[in-house]
C-alpha cells in the first residue's frame, strides 16, 4: 500500500499537469497569428519538457529506493 502511494501521487501529479498543459495549449490558439502560435507552442513545450525531466527523475529515484529496500530486506 505504502509502495503504491508514491506511484499514485506521481501519476496524479503527472495527470494534473497534463490537464493543465492541455488547457493552456488550447487557450486562445484561434485568435493567434502564426508567430504568436509558435511562441505559444515553444513555451508549452519548454514547460512540459521541464516537468517530464523532473518527474522522470523522481520516478527513477522511487525505483532505486524500492530496489534498495528490497535488497536491504533480503
Amino acid at each position: 500500500m505504502k509502495k503504491n502511494a508514491f506511484s499514485l501521487l506521481l501519476v496524479l501529479v503527472a495527470l494534473a499537469l497534463a490537464i493543465c498543459f492541455w488547457r493552456w495549449d488550447q487557450v486562445g490558439l484561434g485568435q493567434m497569428d502564426a508567430s504568436a502560435r509558435l511562441n505559444h507552442e515553444f513555451t508549452v513545450a519548454a514547460y512540459a519538457v521541464t516537468w517530464l525531466i523532473q518527474l522522470g527523475y523522481l520516478a527513477l529515484l522511487g525505483r532505486k529506493w524500492r530496489s534498495m529496500k528490497r535488497r536491504h530486506d533480503r
Binding site: 511562441n39 515553444f42 513555451t43 514547460y47 523532473q54 529515484l61 532505486k64 529506493w65 534498495m68
Partner: protein, 235 residues
Amino acid sequence: MKKLLFGFLAAITVLLMFWGFYQAICVAPDEQTMHEVQRIFYYHVPSAMVAFLFFAINLAGSVCFLAFRRNRPERAQLADAWALAGAEVGVVFCTVVLITGPMWARRAWGIWWTWDARLTTTLILWLIYVSYLLLRRFAAGHEVQTLAAVLGIFGALDVPIVYMSNRWWRTQHPAPVFGGGPDSGIKDPHMLAAFGWNVLAWLVWGLLILALRFQVERRAQRIAAQEAQAVLNER
C-alpha cells in the same frame, strides 16, 4: 513522524510548484519584445540557480570527503553521499537549463545553439558532471570515491566561469538579469513575483529530491558495508 513530516513537505512543494506555474503563466504579463516565449525564463533561470547550488553542495561534499577519508571514514561516507546527490540532482537541473535555453533561443535568435561563452561553458559544466556520474556508475575499486571527489572539485571551478561568462566576454546570451549594472533587474512587480515564486518552488523541489537521493545513497552504502562484512565473516 519522519514520514508525516516528509509527506507534509512534499504537499507544500507540490502546492508551491502549481502556484509558481500559475504565476508564470497567468499572472506575469507578456514581455514587450519577446512576448510569450519569454515565459521560458521563469523555468530556465531558477533551474540554473538551483543547479549551481547543487554543484556547490557537491564541492563541499567532495572537499569534506577528501579531508575525512583517512581519519573519520563514517563522516567521509556521509560527505560522499551528499556529493553524489548534489552532482546527480545538479545534472538534472542543468539538463533542464540546456534544453529550455535552446527552445527560447530558437524563437528569440532564430537558432537553436551558438558557441558563445555562456552556452559553451554551461555545456562543459554539464559534461564534467555527467562524467562524474559515469565514473561513479561504472568504475570499480576503493579509489573511485577519491577520484570522483577530485573531479567534482575541478567541475566546481567551472561554475564561477559560467556565472561570469556574460560579464567577461561579449556573448549572444542576454546580459545578466541581476547584478549586471544599473539597467539590470526585473522592473515589473508581477514579473518579479513570478520569478521569485518559481525560484522558491524549484529550490524546495530540488531540496526534496536531493534529500531523497541522499537517503538512497546512504542506504546503498549501508548495504555495501553489510555485504562486505558478511564476506569477511564467511572467511
